[in-house]
């Protein structure tokens, strides 16, 4: 996946009627459509211009909402749910296994820029814990073996859509 072109970003803004009410819809769509997985300064400016908002207002929003990022992300950001239902049904295992496999601590990208993992609160899959979420895809009922498999699959490019 490559990053979105200027016209593709504008198309997303127009698809949301350049409506400030739907600024979050736009920002998420643009962010998930870009390989670096964040909203850069030029994009924040672009959104602000179309919505008649100052760049400061756009950044206020970018920094408030957890899904939105202002720094480049790894290609695959593995999100582990750390809320109690997931954490106490195997969630702690996930962080340990990921640290073993990827050899980096949480929140730090692997040297090849492919992976990063961190904890996030509830993703609404409490009955399927432990879970890892990558973008909008949830990998559920994970075991140690399944995590190894998942990383292997991602490295081999099995999930093109992510």
């Amino acid at each position: 996946m490559s990053s979105l072109s200027l016209s593709e970003k504008e198309a997303i803004i127009l698809a949301n009627d350049s409506d400030p009410q739907r600024i979050l819809n736009m920002l998420i769509a643009i962010q998930y459509g870009s390989e670096e997985g964040y909203i850069d300064e030029a994009t924040a400016q672009l959104v602000g211009d179309h919505l008649h908002l100052s760049q400061a207002r756009v950044y206020e929003i970018l920094s408030f909402y957890a899904i939105l990022k202002t720094e480049p992300q790894a290609k695959y950001v593995l999100k582990i749910c750390n809320s109690t239902p997931c954490l106490f049904t195997g969630g702690t295992m996930l962080a340990e296994v990921l640290e073993t496999i990827l050899e980096v601590p949480a929140d730090e990208p692997t040297p090849d820029g492919l992976f990063m993992y961190h904890s996030i609160p509830c993703i609404g899959a409490c009955d399927k814990g432990p879970v890892i979420k990558i973008k909008d895809t949830v990998f559920a009922d994970l075991t140690e073996a399944k995590v190894y498999q998942l990383i292997d699959d991602l490295q081999r490019g099995c999930y093109q859509e992510l």
């Binding site: 400030p20 009410q21 739907r22 600024i23 979050l24 819809n25 920002l27 998420i28 998930y32 919505l51 908002l53 206020e60 929003i61 408030f64 909402y65 957890a66 899904i67 939105l68 750390n82 809320s83 109690t84 239902p85 997931c86 954490l87 106490f88 049904t89 996030i120 609160p121 509830c122 993703i123 609404g124 899959a125 409490c126 009955d127 399927k128 814990g129 979420k133 909008d136």
Partner: protein, 432 residues
């Protein structure tokens, strides 16, 4: 005719092949609640809602009839209808199922509200974690519009113009608080407003606004279709209808279930129809009800508990969102509460100081107990801190942080006491 022990909200979920198909929805009595509503006098609609005694299913359990009556009486030509689909309460995944597998029922409930309040615009604020479901819901909206249930002159009634827009959240638990949610819809950061004024008087864009949960809206068509009394009979004296419950944690059959209010908690936990007992082979120890902001009950004290509003209130518990998170005897209550506190410290929006700093201090204190480095006096500090954060915080987030902590302290004091390092000289004075 609806009978007890019959799924009402999940009836179609298990049957429909394509959830967004209007024709199929109508085969299962879809839109008959709306068709009935437009034949009724508006006061009569409100009477049916009062009779049904549906309590808001988002967690606050406020009688829906009263809320709707308040908005009905509010002054203003423009009234907004908002569906709170920012389901972010850990342990809760019920709205997800309705939004994904029966979106038209939520739409029907919102259209009935649109009709009753002569609203032109409805909004559904759906959490950013449910992006895929937002697409499904949009398809349901498009199909409903094509079939004439949204848009201009709905059902041929001149002037009945009403549309629903999906607004995405982007990862902020506090946006589940209704006034924060409205700010977020307005394209602002989702920080709560100071109340009063009530949102029914001064809400979205300062106009009178109704905000209800997904499950509440899905119940409205049932009430109008079957009648308020029939709906009420599904539940108990203090709350009518069925409730979607989310079982998770150390329980065998994790998942979503629909139960009549008034079902025995033992049945929910242990019968094969629902929870099926422990998943770990260990005895169950405690249950966290209604999400992170809900109270905790010790399993051994709940043998005679009835899952209903009054049944749980009797035990100082509450239904909340419908989450039932069950933990076995290997989980330390202090360890558990540290995670709960970490959640609140992370999700506090930072607008008001008692919540911003209080949640952090509570997390630090609980961590001390967990690391067995607490000192004499810390227990009192913790209790005082909980009281302050509850009483001084501006919105429901801070006000409910203490619910799980206080019940945990009440049922398992010895686990906290075990975290106090006895060797330390007692600290004199200096309580906050």
């Amino acid at each position: 005719m609806i009978k007890r022990n019959q799924p009402v909200l999940l009836e179609r979920v298990n049957k429909m092949r394509q959830a967004t198909n209007v024709g199929e929805y109508q085969e299962y009595q879809g839109f008959s609640g709306l068709l009935k509503a437009i034949e009724m006098d508006k006061e009569a609609i409100l009477d049916e809602l009062d009779l049904a005694h549906l309590r808001g299913r988002g967690g606050a359990a406020f009688p829906l009839g009263k809320k709707w009556r308040h908005l009905y009486g509010a002054k203003g030509d423009t009234k907004y209808i908002v569906c709170n689909a920012d389901e972010g309460e850990p342990g809760t995944f019920k709205d997800k199922v309705l939004l994904k597998h029966d979106p038209l029922s939520v739409i029907e409930g919102m259209v009935i509200a649109g009709y009753l309040f002569s609203a032109k615009a409805g909004y559904i604020y759906m959490r950013g974690e449910y992006l895929g479901i937002q697409k499904i819901f949009q398809e349901a909206l498009d199909n409903a519009e094509k079939a004439g249930f949204l848009g201009e002159n709905i059902l041929g009634i001149p002037g009945f113009n009403y549309n629903i827009t999906i607004i995405s959240g982007a990862g902020a638990y506090v946006c589940g608080e209704n006034s924060a949610l409205l700010n977020s819809i307005e394209g602002k950061t989702g920080r709560p407003r100071v109340k009063p004024p009530h949102l029914a008087d001064v809400g979205l864009y300062l106009q009178p606004t109704l905000v209800n949960n997904v499950e509440s809206f899905a119940g409205i068509p049932v009430i109008l279709r079957e009648g308020g009394q029939a709906y009420r009979d599904l539940g108990t004296e203090d709350g009518g209808g069925t409730k979607l419950i989310c079982l998770s944690g150390h329980i065998k059959n994790r998942g979503l279930y629909e139960v009549n209010l008034g079902t025995s908690l033992q049945d929910i936990l242990y019968s094969e129809e629902y929870g099926g007992g422990t998943s770990t082979g260990r005895p169950l120890k405690f249950i966290h009800f209604g999400g992170q902001s809900g109270p905790i009950g010790a399993v051994q004290n709940l043998e005679d508990c009835i899952y209903s509003y009054e049944g749980l209130w009797d035990k100082d518990l509450s239904i909340g969102s419908g989450a039932i998170v069950v933990m076995d005897d290997q989980v330390s209550i202090v360890d558990y509460l540290v995670q709960v506190a970490a959640f609140f410290a992370h999700e506090s929006c930072g607008k008001c100081t008692p919540c911003r700093l209080g949640t952090t201090r509570i997390l630090e204190l609980l961590t001390k107990f967990n690391n067995q480095t607490a000192v004499v006096g810390d227990l009192e500090r913790l209790e005082k801190m909980l009281m302050h954060v509850t009483n001084l915080s501006a919105c429901g987030l801070g006000q409910s942080v203490a619910n799980p902590m206080k019940s945990g302290l009440a049922y398992f004091p010895e686990e906290f006491e075990a975290g106090i390092r006895e060797a330390v000289t007692p600290v004199k004075g200096g309580l906050w």
